[in-house]
Amino acid sequence: MNGKCHIESIGVKIPGKRLTTSELISRIKIPGMEKFGLLTGIRERRVCSDTEDSFSLACDAARDCLAHSKYGAEDLDLVICCSITHYKNGLSHLYEPSFSLLIKDVIGAGKAMTFDISNACAGMLTGVYVAENFFRLGKISTCMIVSGEYISNLYDHALKNIRTPLSSEISSLTVGDCGAAVILEKAPEDSEGLIISGFSTFSHLSGLCKGGQNKRTPGGYMKTKSIKIHKASVANCLPIVSEALKANNLTFDMIDYLIPHQTSRSSIISGAIRLYESEDKKPGNLVVNLRDNGNTASTTHFLAIYQYMNEKRFHVGDRIMLLCFASGLIIGVVIFMMDEIIYHYGNKD
C-alpha cells in the first residue's frame, strides 16, 4: 500500500436564490462603484434563502457527494467539516457540538471519526492536508471533507459601512454562499495521488483580513486590506509554487489547469501573470469561475472542479494545481492528476 489518496467524488450545494452585482451595488450610493462587476468578474452570486444556512448547505453537499460516490455514508472512516461559518437555524452560530458530528449523524456515517477544522478560506484544503496524513498512516480508507459557507450575511454590515470604493469591507461584496464536499479514498498503486506541498502560515500577515461575528447586529463582518493581502499572497506564493513544482519534477507548463482561490478576476489574473513570469512558463488553463458564484470562501476550489467536471472540460490525465490563499496568511499547493472521477459526472472522454 502506497499510503496515497485521491479524490473519489465531489458534491456541491448552490442555493437557488440569485443576487446580481448590479442589484447589490445599487444599494450603495457612492460614486466609483460602477466598475465593481467588471473588476471582480462577478455577475451574480447565490445566496441562502430563509430556510438555508451553513449546516443545511454542508449536509446537502455531503448528500450530493455520496450520490456521486461508490461509497455509502456508513463506509466513511473520517468526516471533517471545514466551514468558517457555523450558522445553524438561521444566524445562530454553533460552537459546540462540532458541525462534523452533526453532519455525520444526518448522513448516517455511523463509524466515522469527526472533528472540525477552521482555517479561513484554506479550510477545505487544510482538511485535505490533514486527511492525507491519516491515509499515509493507514488509519483510514475513506474520508469526507465538507464545508457549508453562509457568508452573504456580510453584506448587511458592509452596506452600512462602505463609504468609498477603497473601504476595507468592499471585499465583503464579492462573497457568495455555497456548500461543497469531497470524498477521498486510497489511491491505486500506480497513481501518484494527491501531492501536497508548502502549507505555511505567514502569521506576521495575519492582520490583513479579519472577520467575525458582529457585536450588535446579526451575522458577521469582514475587513480586508485588499491590495496589501494580494501583494503579500503573490510575493509569498512564488517560492512555494516553485518548490512544489521542483520537488515533483514538474514545470508550470505541465500543469493543465491552475485553480487559485477565487477572490476577484483582476487579482487572479495579475497574480497569475506574476507566477508565469517567475516560472517563465504558463499552465494550460487558468480557472476563474467567479462570474456566477462569487467568492465562496473555503469551498471555491471544489466548486470550480465540480462545475468544470459537469461542463465536461476535464480529461483523464489532466494535471490540476490547486493554489490556496487565505487570511492568516495561509498558502498551500495541492497537485493531482484527473482520473476516472470525471465519468461519474457524465464525461465520456
Partner: protein, 309 residues
Amino acid sequence: MGTRISMVSVSKLYSGFRSVNSISLSANTVKECLFSTGIVPSEIGLLINTGIYRYRNTGEPSIASLIQHISMPASRIKPSGKKENAFIGGTFSFDLGNGGCGWLSGIEIIDGFIRTGRIKHGIVVTADSEPFPGFSENYRFYSAAASVLLSGTETEGGFSHFRTYTFPEFSEDFTGLTRFGKKKGRWGRRNILEIRESETYVEDCIKCAAASVDRFLGETGYSMGDIDLIIPSQSPKGLLPGLKDKLSASCKLVEVRNGMNRELHTAGPAFALKNSWNDNSFIASENILFLTVGSGISVSIALFQNPSC
C-alpha cells in the same frame, strides 16, 4: 517513531467579568513551552488551536495564526535574518474544533505528522474565554489556556491507540451557540453566547465515558489493572466522581481542584497533565490513559506509555 510530551504549560485561571483575551493567554503558554525546552519557533512544524470560546468570536484568520504571530515571531525569519523565502517548511497553523475532545484530537493529528516524518515538533494550544464578558448566558468556564509541546522520539513508547467514540443521540444535551437577542439587565439587542445543558448531561457523559473506556480496553487488549494514571477532562462538574465510581479504577484519576464555582473546559485535561507533571505522578507512571469527554457526546481516548519507565 513515537511522540513524547516535551513540555506542558498552563496559564492562571481567571473568572468573573474581567476581560481576558484568550489569544494572549494562549500565546503566553506557547512562549513558555518554547522557552522551557529551548526549541526555536522555526522547528515547530504544526500549531493547532483547539479552544472553542474565543476573543470576540473571531472567525478569521484562525486563532492559531494569531497565536503564532504573538508567540513565534522568529518562525518567520531565517537565522540569516533574511525574510524572503523563509517560510518554506515553516510553521503551519489552524484551528480544530471538537468540543472537550479537541485537545486530544489535536494531539492525534500532531502524532500522525511526527510519525510520517513531516514534522519534528508540534504544539497543541487551547484556551477558552468569554467572547464578550457579561454578554453570555450560563457561561461558567474559567478563562484559561494550556499548551503542550510534542516531539518525536526514537525510543519505545509515547502516544498510541487513539480512539474516538461518539454518541449522537445526546447531541442536544450540551450546546454552545450565539443567538441575537436581549440579555436581562442589559440595554439593546446583541449577539449573546448561550450555553444550553440538559439536566441529564453529566449523567450521560459518565455513562458514555465509562462505556467508551470498556470498549477501548476491549479493542486494545489492556485491562484497567494495566493503567497507572488517568488524565481526564475536568468538565462537566460531577464527571470525575461519577467516573471514579463507574470505572472502579484503582489507579489515580487526576483532578484539578480550584475552589471556585467555575469549570475548566477544553484546557481541563492539559491542566490535569500539568498537575501530574508537577507532582511527578506522570513521570512515575508507565501506562497513562488520556480520557476526554465533550459535547456530542464525544469521548476520545489515547494511551501514553512513558518512555522513561
